[in-house]
Each structure stands twice: as structure tokens, then as C-alpha cells.
Symmetry: C2
Subunit: 375 residues, 2 copies
């Protein structure tokens, strides 16, 4: 087995759990937030900077690397770790979500998905076998099965057909997987917002016995309450001795509420994307750096933060860099936002250790959102 | 006096000289290349990275900082050093070159220059007094007098009038300068490509007794031979106990040929600007990273370089980042190019120390340009 999940402790106040995931490139502490390095780089950051903020694992995108520079090239370079100079664990997605998001530019059949590249319009094809081949070439520690992510809203029959295809595709991924000893392949639970379909999906995937499971088809436009509801009835069906991953989630509330429902792993482009738009997550809530009120604000972005940005620069300077469209702006704000989420997850792990995650949630929500939403 | 120039040694093979310039924020070794931080940031770089590559002094632009964020704001922040978190010396230009480059957008009178901001089109005014006030507010170690930079080509009468106004303006800058004990104001020699006008300009400026002199009006489109010719008859007229600065020059050949003619300081946006366009200066000459031949080139950008980029990444990866328009591309290539020029100047200083700058020039030109241009 490529990975091993070690359950350290369950929170007495919630469904949260503290664990360690042992991978070929090192151990990660869960629950964890994974920064996204779409094109073999976490945008604006170096690997050393990610390590300095204690990023333990990053995610990279199969769809993007398949199209550019191509997985064969990365394989020739010695794999994705070596290509991008990152020696800690990497999780790759399957490309499924990206190709389905292409809308009219793609055509789904039982065999796979034909689509047009967003880069040059060329005709491309991804299937369970191809997505697995690509991820084998990349050499990620954790791979994802090629799934069909149903949109929201979608009717019952559509979602049922889609989840059943996802199971058949998961089987094909498993059969095509060449390196089960060094790369762990996760199954993805689908089933939309329908409880019995989620149960069916879990049941079918458990039969295939994956080393980890993702809850897919969430964070696709549904209200957060609905996402939490789906997690509440889906996560308990998953085996306790395997890691559980919620894809594409990165807002502080969704991270905490996901952990409370038993999720171990998260990823999202949110912290780096909003950083490039001048938006920051801070202990005092969201800061939009271009606001005029920060023009002569010579205090740090977040007075409670000890990241490189907050230790060395003022809001006035960060505002100036943003307005002048300087690359350093994207760097400094990305540094802060990633550090913020990674630190948040450290605090979350401590709160689980102390059996007080619900108390922590209340304290955090009050400070960050100014009110306590119901759990 | 804000600064003191210490002449260590003159090269026996050329007009080059080795020196140290003592400034309020530390000592710099000359001849030196100064990275440009136009808008209070050397594009894509942090101060720590600049220090790691031994950048001893940087330049920042009065024109840009005057317009955005404004010198009053930077003064309130505690000065430019504190605002941008750089504690080593800073040289600021006067804004003269930038406003004259605006063409139809500016109007010159004896009083100063009225112009339209390139940012918002607002009407603005810079004069000797204003440019001095701005630089006093910024708190740079070395300030430049507000000069009129004649274009190339320009007729004799135009250049003569322009240099005489530059002298009058230099006097007004000196009179307006509030901090001569902590900020050194340099005079700028004009006179275009006319020997007697250069002599006149030097004569007039020497009477004003500046702590340093720049040779202005070069690198404005004239052939390199002509620039070298002007330096040959202008630099020897300048006092030996003061630093000499050639503005806007950053190509390896022009740096070496400037040093050979007695120049001590240089600045240019070239290394960072071409980096953002995927072009690199290496010991093997220029590399255009997007070229297809680097697609599967898993060797460093420059095998003889020990910069962060060359120690950790391959040409194939750098090419990928550039083609994917990743911010890390600008970072890694800027790092390399700045490191290259700073290292080149270290080698140049060693060659002066060893009385072999002409030999060094020949070796370098052979390797970089593939041929030995006449000195």
C-alpha cells in the first residue's frame, strides 16, 4: 500500500478526527488544507516559501499538466516532484472536474470525455485509463479516480446514471493503475444532493476497496447548508481507517464545518486566487486591500499573524503594490492567505486534540464573520 | 557630507577604478550595477532575495513615486527605505528622464515641466524644486538633480540651450536641497554628442561642487561606439575623488566598456524587464527560454551560475512556466538576470584588482557575444 492513515484521536465535541497520513514523500497531519499548484507551481510561490509556512502537501491538476507541458515531458523530467522541485507529498486530481466544467466544449460517452483544449482549441480525450496513465506518469503520491461530477441542480435520474458511471470508471481506473505500491488511488463518492444515491455510491466504491475516498460533487454552487447536510449523511458511511477528502473547499467556514463532519483533507485555489485580486483572509475577517481606508494605514495586514508579509510590510505598502499592479503584491498576499489557512488548520487540529472544536468554531466565527452561524 | 568616495585602486590596463562609496545606509563596492525598483519594488523580488544575490544598492524612480503613491505618503511611512523594507542604500533619479520621455504629453518652460500623468491623465508639474522636495521626502541616500535630457539626434543649439538650462536647474536643486548631510545630490552632465558642450557642462557643474556626477543624455538611442566616445572625453574631466554614474545602462558590453572608461555606477531595468519577456543573460550568451529546443532540456539555465534558479530548476521547467504565464517565471528569470549582472560586476572588480580588465573583457565577450568587439 502506498499510504497509511493513522487515526490519532476523535473529537469529543464533534465528528472531527485527528490523524496522520503516511505517504511515500512524508507524513502529513490531518485535517489539512492543501495549496493548489495547478500548472506545477503554486501561483507566485516557491517550494521553499511553501515549506516555510508548513505546507505539508500540495495539489496539482491533471487536466492542466496533460495539456501543458504534457505528462510524457514531466515523466522524462523524473516525475512531477522533481520537475517542480517539491519533495513533499503531491495529490493530483483526475481532470474530471475540469473537463466537465468545459460545458459545450466537451462530449461525454461511456468511453470517456472528448473536449477542446482551453489553450489551443485542439481536440483532446480523457478517460479513466488516460487519466490514470497521466497520473502514473506524474508520480503523485495520491491520485484521484476519473469521475463524472454532476452539476447542481441536477435531477435524480441524471445523478443516478452519473454516479453509476463514476463507479464503472473507478473500476477501470483501478484496473489501469500501474503503481499501487507507490501511488494511492482514491475513489470519489458522487450522488449529488440525494441521500440514497450517496449511499449507493459509497456502497459500490467500498466494494472496490480504495485506500482513500473523496466526497465529490460538492462546492458546485449548492448552498453551504446543503453541502454540510450531504457530508453529515455521507461521511459516516466511509471507513474509519481511510482518509476522507473534500475537493475544492477553502473558505474558513467550510473548512471548519467539513472537519466537524469528519473530513481530513481539503484543497482550493481560493487563497491564491483572491490574493491576486487583492483580497485577504485575516484574524479580523476579510480585508480588501485596495480600499481607500488603508491608504495611510501603516499597520500590518493582520496584527495577529506572523507570516513574512505581516512581519515586514504595512497595509499602505501592500495597497500601493496592488494598485501599481506589482508582482510582489500577488506574492505577499498569496503568502499571507496560504499561511492563514495552514495556520487555521493547525488551530483546528489543536482544538480536536483538546476536544473543543465546537468552542473553537464559535470563537473563530465571531471574530472572522462577526456572527455565529449554526453548525 | 552624506557620502564619501574612497578610491582603492586604478586598473593598469584601462581607465577603470576600484572604489568604495560610503553612504548613510552602508558601504557599496564600485564599479556597481544597481537593480531598478521603479515603484518601490524591484519587480517580482523581495528585499531579502536582493540581499541574497549581494545587491548593495537599488534605484527607485521619483516620477513614479511622485504620482503613486505620492511622496507625502512615503514620508509619513518613515521614508522609502522603511516603506519598502529595504535598509541598504537607495539612489533616486530626478524624474527628468521620465517626463521628457512623455513627448507630446509634456511642456517644458524655464520654471519646470508640466505633464500629464501616465496613470490617470491628471495635470502634474515637476521642477528642480519639486523634484528635490520629492527626493527629500523619499529620503534616498543619493538624489539626482532635475535635468533636461536632450534626445538623440539633436542639433547643436538645442543641446547647448538644454545643457545650460540643466546647469541653472542643478543650481536650483542644490539651493532647494534640505538634507545635504544625509542625502547626496549628484549633478548630471549633459551636452549630447558634442565634445565642447560636454566640456562646458562639466565646467559649469564643477563650479557647483556636487558630491557625485552622472553622465546623462546617453543610452538614448545613439550607437554604442558613440556612447563610448562621449564617455572617453567626458569622464576624465570629472574629479577623481567623486563617484561617476552612467544612467540607464545594463547590457554586459556597455557595463564593461563603461567601467573601462572610468564609470563607477550603473542602473537599468534591462535584467528584470527582459526576464519578464523570457530572456536571460547567461555565461553562454543570451537564452530565449520559450524556444522549442529547451522543451526537453533538463539542464540548468546557466551551468556556470550558482543562483537560486540555476541551482534548483531546469530549462524545461522554466520554459513551461514562461509559456503558462506563471508569476514564478518572472521571479526565477529576474533572479537569474540580476544575479548575473551583480556577479559580472564582482568579476569586473576582481579584474581591476588584478590589472587585467581588458583581458577579462576579451574572455567575456568571446564567450557571451561569440566575438571580440573593439574596445
Amino acid at each position: 500500500m502506498a499510504i497509511r492513515y493513522e487515526l490519532i484521536k476523535e473529537c469529543k465535541q464533534s465528528g472531527a478526527r485527528l490523524g496522520r497520513l503516511h505517504t511515500p514523500h512524508g507524513v502529513i497531519n490531518t485535517p489539512i488544507f492543501m495549496p493548489v499548484g495547478t500548472a506545477a507551481t503554486v501561483k507566485a510561490m516557491t517550494p521553499e516559501e511553501l515549506k516555510e509556512m508548513d505546507a505539508e502537501i500540495i495539489l496539482s491538476n491533471t487536466y492542466h499538466l496533460f495539456l501543458r507541458p504534457g505528462h510524457e515531458l514531466i515523466e522524462k523530467a523524473g516525475g512531477l516532484h522533481k520537475f517542480m522541485n517539491w519533495d513533499r507529498p503531491i495529490l493530483t486530481d483526475s481532470g474530471g472536474f475540469q473537463v466537465f466544467s468545459l460545458g459545450d466544449l466537451r462530449k461525454i460517452t461511456e468511453e470517456g470525455v472528448e473536449f477542446r483544449s482551453h489553450i489551443d482549441g485542439s481536440k483532446q480525450f480523457l478517460s479513466p485509463e488516460k487519466a490514470t496513465e497521466v497520473q502514473n506518469a506524474l508520480g503523485s503520491d495520491i491520485m484521484m479516480a476519473f469521475d463524472e461530477c454532476a452539476p447542481y441542480p441536477a435531477d435524480y435520474d441524471y445523478v443516478k446514471n452519473s454516479l453509476e458511471r463514476t463507479t464503472r470508471w473507478a473500476k477501470r481506473c483501478k484496473d489501469a493503475h500501474k503503481n499501487p505500491d507507490t501511488q494511492a488511488l482514491f475513489g470519489i463518492v458522487q450522488g449529488g444532493m440525494y441521500k440514497d444515491l450517496r449511499e449507493q455510491s459509497v456502497r459500490e466504491l467500498l466494494e472496490l476497496d480504495f485506500p482513500g475516498y473523496s466526497v465529490g460533487g460538492l462546492s458546485v454552487g449548492e448552498p453551504k447548508d446543503l453541502m454540510n447536510e450531504v457530508l453529515e449523511y455521507t461521511v459516516p458511511l466511509l471507513p474509519k481507517d481511510k482518509p476522507r477528502y473534500l475537493m475544492g473547499v477553502g473558505s474558513p467556514d467550510a473548512l471548519i464545518d467539513g472537519v466537524i463532519r469528519g473530513i481530513d483533507m481539503f484543497d482550493c485555489v481560493l487563497p491564491t486566487r483572491i490574493a491576486r485580486n487583492g483580497q485577504c483572509m485575516t484574524s479580523q475577517g476579510k480585508v480588501v486591500i485596495k480600499h481607500a481606508k488603508y491608504r495611510e494605514d501603516f499597520t500590518p495586514l493582520d496584527p495577529e499573524c506572523d507570516c513574512y508579509t505581516c512581519k515586514n510590510y504595512t497595509k499602505a505598502y501592500l495597497r500601493h503594490l496592488y494598485k501599481a499592479n506589482e508582482i510582489l503584491s500577488a506574492r505577499l498576499l498569496s503568502t499571507h492567505n496560504l499561511h492563514f489557512l495552514i495556520s487555521l488548520m493547525k488551530d483546528v487540529r489543536q482544538a480536536i486534540m483538546d476536544d473543543r472544536l465546537l468552542d473553537f468554531r464559535e470563537e473563530f466565527f465571531k471574530k472572522y464573520y462577526g456572527d455565529i452561524k449554526p453548525v
